[in-house]
């Protein structure tokens, strides 16, 4: 099915908070399926997208919103060779978030660096 040996730089751009809309979950589903294609994958989290990585998501029926918690999947991405996760500095600051508030290690990028990252990509999925 895939072209033999072609490796492209794929960027998954996530801009929306989890659970309020489906975009975060279904974006992750593409990442998981896409891992089998062994491309050069990066994930970027911008605006409310940074909330996708926040620790302590209250999703249980008893003390939360009663939906499936998919946040631990971000931690499992390493096992799929998806290791390049970037968050937008301004988006974090605007929301009072620090790196230690996130469930996975990330690289924090400023506007210029984020633009550079995007410029390097060959395929950008924006959800």
């Amino acid at each position: 099915m895939e072209a033999e040996g072609v490796v492209k730089k794929f960027l998954y751009l996530n801009r929306k908070a989890p659970y309020g809309t489906i975009y975060a979950l279904e974006s992750l589903e593409v990442v998981l399926i896409g891992a089998a294609f062994e491309q050069d994958v990066s994930l970027a989290f911008i605006d409310d997208g940074v909330y996708q990585l926040k620790k302590d998501q209250k999703t249980s029926v008893n003390d939360g919103i009663g939906v499936k918690n998919f946040s631990k999947t971000y931690g499992a991405l390493e096992g799929y060779d998806v290791e390049k996760l970037y968050v937008d500095k301004k988006s974090m600051e605007e929301r009072g978030l620090l790196e230690e508030d996130l469930i996975v290690p990330v690289e924090v990028l400023n506007d210029t660096q984020m633009a550079e990252l995007m410029d390097q990509q060959e395929v950008i999925f924006s959800f």
Binding site: E2, A3, K8, F10, E26, Q39, V123, I124, F125, S126
Partner: protein
């Protein structure tokens, strides 16, 4: 240029499907290739056989079917997103024990691998969403 098109929203609710259609049509008129049009999230609803929009406005689903037929386009609905939203072809309906199917002419249901492949095989992937 060889394009791949990704449509992330359903018909009428957002302009994404209209914009994707207009872009695809214009690209084809200019002699470009469209490798695949992939429908994800609510975009799968663009493949519903059951829409009955008002007669004095564009019929978004039929427009895609017709363009698809005219140019032999590969119009693909993501199976995971389709299942979530109740979009089933005949095979899927049988497999899942449902009493109806509802996919429009010219669309097919397939996996997310088709989206990744489209990204790899095309020269530029265009995303139409919210």
């Amino acid at each position: 240029m060889k394009f791949a098109i990704l449509v992330n929203e359903g018909p009428y609710q957002h302009q994404a499907s209209d914009s994707a259609y207009q872009f695809t049509k214009a690209a084809l008129e200019k002699g470009h290739d469209i490798f695949r049009v992939f429908f994800y999230h609510d975009g799968v609803n663009n493949g519903s056989r059951l829409t009955v929009p008002p007669q004095d406005d564009r019929h978004i689903v039929n427009r895609w079917s017709e363009l698809g037929k005219e140019h032999s386009l590969d119009l693909v609905l993501c199976i995971a997103a389709a299942q979530r939203r109740g979009m089933l072809d005949e095979n899927e309906a049988k497999r899942q024990g449902k009493d109806a199917n509802n996919i429009a002419e010219g669309f097919r249901i397939s996996g997310l691998g088709q989206l990744i492949e489209a990204g790899i095989q095309s020269e530029r992937l265009m995303v139409f969403g919210d």
